[in-house]
């Protein structure tokens, strides 16, 4: 049997180079133009993600603090983001309960090098005080911020983060809202989704494998010597985009 090597692959694939133009009959194909004048820019992929998915909208915490979503909450951080609303009777209590359990598993890492954010889907009715009461009712610990804001900003945020359905009717049904969690490490352009309905030990495993890869010990609990555990509390508004790297948490 003849071996196909790199040297002869093109030879087999086709020796002639007959020119073929685009056929305008093919309406569903991208319309090729005779000349293009693409003016591609050099934009860092991290900035593109920020522009498209991490809008810097102003939000208000359960403690009535004004914060900016990108610069204050996400930039240079490991984050877990989800949407809820205080009067939600169905899915939100379940997922909030799961995250409380996850927080216990992750112990004091939450608020130190992993940050939880719950954003209300009902900014019209959820005041900071309501969110604070919700957090207290569920026994939410430190490092977990509940957020509200202007309805338009919340909408933009929700759509930018993928928490929406194409069908307007489905999308408008708050009780059917997405139970997914976005798990991200912003400076490393590493983003994943995890099911909020999954078992807390599995959610914790996902968060830790996202945060700490490569792992050197056990992930089921905090038994391992973990470089990230040694991390000092991250600055509230890091000015240096490489702050996390210098702290040694982004082990690579």
């Amino acid at each position: 049997m003849a071996k196909m090597t790199r040297r002869n692959w093109l030879a087999v694939a086709g020796a002639t180079t007959a020119a073929v133009g685009a056929n305008s009959v093919f309406a569903q194909e991208p319309t090729p133009a005779s000349t293009h004048n693409y003016n591609f820019q050099k934009i860092s992929p991290r900035e593109l993600i920020q522009r498209r998915h991490l809008p810097n909208v102003e939000l208000i915490t359960q403690d009535n603090q004004k914060v900016h979503f990108y610069t204050d909450l996400v930039k240079d951080r490991r984050v877990v983001i989800q949407f809820m609303f205080a009067r939600c009777k169905d899915i939100c209590p379940v997922i909030t309960h799961h995250l409380v359990e996850v927080q216990k598993i992750l112990k004091d890492r939450v608020g130190r090098d992993i940050f939880f954010y719950s954003i209300t889907l009902s900014p019209e009715e959820d005041s900071p005080r309501d969110l604070k009461a919700y957090a207290k009712m569920h026994g939410v610990g430190q490092g977990w911020t509940f957020l509200t804001g202007k309805p338009d900003d919340i909408l933009l945020l929700r759509k930018s983060l993928g928490f929406f359905y194409d069908d307007p009717k489905e999308d408008a049904d708050r009780n059917n809202h997405s139970g997914m969690l976005v798990v991200g490490t912003e400076p490393l352009m590493r983003w994943a989704m995890c099911q909020g309905g999954a078992a807390p030990d599995w959610i914790a495993t996902v968060i830790r494998t996202e945060a700490d890869a490569p792992l050197t010990g056990s992930v089921d609990g905090i038994r391992q010597t973990d470089p990230a555990v040694r991390l000092k509390r991250a600055p509230q508004s890091p000015k240096d985009p490489n702050a996390m790297h210098r702290h040694g948490s982004m082990r690579e």
Binding site: V12, V20, V25, F40, M180
Partner: protein
């Protein structure tokens, strides 16, 4: 919002405006065809200005359009011309002697994982034995390693290639892809997409050592994680070598995968070499890292693996006399991609959960290539490489699109059928394969003086949820490859029209149990039987060397899922419409009933068999699917009953949706096979 720059504000307004436009149109229930009729859209798919929204050109009506100049269908920069590059054929991976430096690093391949810590990385040399990224000492030794001694050794290095071109058209810049190389350590041994083709022979056990040499996480170019699990899709493989979702390894590690090279049944029903009728032909390998499979395979981490035996020999003068490899036996991997309108570079939306469609069509890594053929029979092994699109492929004469051009299906999912079936189209969900025979001599007689036919995808698909019921007219779809027909040459291959006989379908026996699996969505989260994915939970236990029937149900009218099960193939016993026990919102709002504009755009319309007919013995199963399969499309409102055997190995395997976006989010469960266990849970 004083902190937002004017530019940001403007962009946000644009996004919202475009979104509102689109939603408004969708709300009105207009389809693309309606808009064309109304003159709102040109036939090229550009929405005539309604406040600046440019509509998607390919596959973008209703679902996704280019808004905000994002990474989305309709936004990708396009080459000035297509069909300008020859379709490459991936090189064959060379076997290496055990003395090769790639096989002596750390330790020579051994039955137990070499988990000694490499001081250079602080991690075990070998990643085998890790689960969820963590070492589980004493696990994942090779089953049957001494009974079937390795005969062939291979090495691949998983690397970035920063100078990969999808087209020779310089309008489209060079790309960074991740791929597999030929195993050499030199930097000149670059990674390609698809990776090299691994060629194996039954009864010649082989071992592949793969090195993770991917860049660091921060050098991922926006998406991709440098953690790998390489699944050999379709082979009958033990968990330690299967490349399952939870057994990934890290940069700086290697991972040995050993394959017995025997057909299923080798340690049970057909000792010692397995059932010849379980021979597999066209497989592929791809990344399977849980939660990140879509982005990693999209970035290029996939390749073909072909297996020959004494009948399917790769030589058209022996055995079944199928067209000779590699001259007349050609793998074709189809992928659709998106390029970033700002940078021209491959882009991926990590925040998309419904499924990702592209508007750049690749075949073997090249945008719409041509392929020169002679007037004779060829075997093409066509793979839908994802991430989410379904294909229905036809042969089209671009100058006379109405000409129906038949061809032959000889294998479904790489498994030879009992005998060839003539068709005019094939439908492939993600990861499905068809081996087809095209007789270009016969094609030439149909198209007269014309010299080109195109492999054309005519399936209309609006979004990542699944295809519509409708086809584009011939010549109006997306051409994946242009075949240019040259002169007649000698052809010693078998003529499918003579109805040659290949393997018999393995017998279907009475199952020990029938289990039900409902694939659904719960608050935007994928669930199987209402439960969520979890690497730490083996959902149920199959008794080793037993047979089971599984009933897969899709209660939704507007989602389709190509379901893949590891370990052993299945046979489809029946397909039936379950009447849509649960309607989605889309169903209500977009499908009022017969006569409404969108009646057929999503709904319970199963694949009709592509001209190959429907089985007379297996209800609603197209003849081309009366086969052994490893991926089965679970269509809208459909129940599919499948038959499985679970032989030879012990351990855990995955079942999941192979729309890689759904897979990552995470329509998946793990099950195990163990001896002497009686798990009678019918709804696990």
């Amino acid at each position: 919002m004083a902190f937002i720059s004017k530019r940001n504000k403007r962009r946000e307004r644009e996004i919202q405006k475009a979104l509102n436009n689109r939603l408004e149109l969708v709300k009105e229930g207009f389809t693309r065809r309606d808009l064309i009729k109304m003159g709102l859209m040109t036939s090229a798919g550009v929405l005539i200005a309604k406040g600046g929204l440019t509509h998607a050109q390919w596959g973008g009506h209703n679902g996704s359009s280019c808004y905000g100049n994002n990474c989305n269908v309709g936004c990708s920069p396009q080459p000035a011309q297509v069909f300008i590059d020859p379709m490459p054929i991936p090189p064959e991976l060379p076997a290496r002697p055990l003395t090769d430096p790639g096989l002596t690093f750390g330790a020579a391949p051994q039955q137990f994982p070499f988990n000694t810590i490499n001081p250079a990385t602080g991690l075990p040399y070998e990643g085998r034995g890790q689960y969820n990224g963590t070492l589980r000492p004493g696990t994942d030794f090779f089953q049957f390693f001494t009974q079937y001694p390795t005969q062939k050794y291979y090495v691949e290095r998983i690397r970035a290639n920063n100078n990969f071109r999808f087209t020779s058209d310089t309008n489209i810049p060079a790309q960074t892809i991740w791929g597999f190389n030929l195993g050499g350590s030199a930097t000149s041994d670059v990674a390609t997409m698809p990776g090299p083709t691994v060629v194996s022979h039954y009864q010649e056990p082989w071992l592949i050592r793969r090195y993770n040499e991917l860049p660091t996480q921060s050098q991922n170019g926006g998406f991709g994680v440098p953690e790998m699990s390489t699944h050999l899709h379709n082979f009958h493989t033990a968990p330690e070598s299967d490349g399952g979702p939870c057994r990934y390894f890290f940069r700086g590690q290697y991972f040995d995968q050993y394959f017995t090279g025997q057909q299923a049944g080798f340690a049970s029903t057909h000792q010692p070499n397995g059932d010849i009728n379980e021979s597999l032909s066209s497989l592929w390998y791809h990344d399977h890292r849980i939660d990140h499979t879509a982005e990693n395979t999209y970035k290029g981490l996939a390749g073909f693996h072909l297996i020959f035996n004494q009948f399917d020999t790769g030589n058209e003068t022996t055995g079944f006399r199928l067209p000779s490899y590699p001259q007349y036996d050609v793998p074709i991997m189809l992928n659709d991609k998106l390029l970033d309108p700002s940078t021209g570079l491959l882009c991926f939306d990590s925040f998309n959960f419904k499924g990702l469609l592209g508007d750049i069509q690749l075949a073997n890594g090249i945008i719409q290539p041509f392929f020169n053929v002679s007037q004779r029979r060829y075997r093409f092994r066509v793979l839908n490489g994802g991430p989410s699109r379904f294909y229905e492929l036809f042969l089209t004469d671009p100058l006379t699109p109405s000409t129906q051009i038949p061809f032959w299906v000889i294998a479904d999912d790489g498994n030879l059928l009992p005998t060839p079936i003539q068709v005019t189209s094939i439908r492939l969900g993600v990861a499905e394969r068809y081996d087809i025979i095209i007789d270009f001599n016969a094609v030439k007689s149909l198209i007269g003086s014309h010299t080109k036919v195109r492999l054309e995808n005519r399936l209309i698909q609006d979004d990542g949820q699944g295809p519509s019921c409708d086809l584009f007219s011939a010549g109006q779809g997306m051409s994946c490859v242009e075949f240019r027909i040259g002169s007649p040459v000698t052809d010693n291959s078998v003529n499918p029209a003579t109805h040659p006989v290949f393997y018999q379908l393995p017998s279907v026996i009475t199952p020990r149990i029938t289990r039900n699996f409902n694939f659904d969505r719960d608050n935007g989260q994928w669930v199987i039987n209402g439960k969520f994915a979890n690497c730490n939970e083996l959902r149920f236990t199959v008794k080793q060397n037993s047979a089971e029937n599984w009933l897969w149900s899709n209660p939704r009218s507007d989602w389709q899922h190509p379901i893949h099960v590891h370990l052993e193939e299945h046979q489809i016993l029946s397909r039936s419409n379950n009447g849509g026990r649960r309607f989605s919102y889309s169903h209500h709002s977009r499908r009022a009933g017969p006569g409404s504009p969108d009646w057929r755009s999503h709904g319970d319309c199963a694949f009709g068999g592509g001209g190959g007919g429907i089985s007379t013995t297996r209800p609603n199963v197209p003849n081309v699917e009366v086969s052994r399969k490893d991926v089965t499309r679970l269509q809208a409102n459909e129940d599919v009953k499948v038959f499985f055997r679970f032989r030879d190995f012990q351990g855990d395997w995955a079942m999941h949706c192979h729309n890689t976006i759904h897979e990552d989010h995470a329509m998946m469960l793990l099950f195990q096979v163990q001896p002497g266990v009686t798990d009678n849970n019918q709804n696990p």
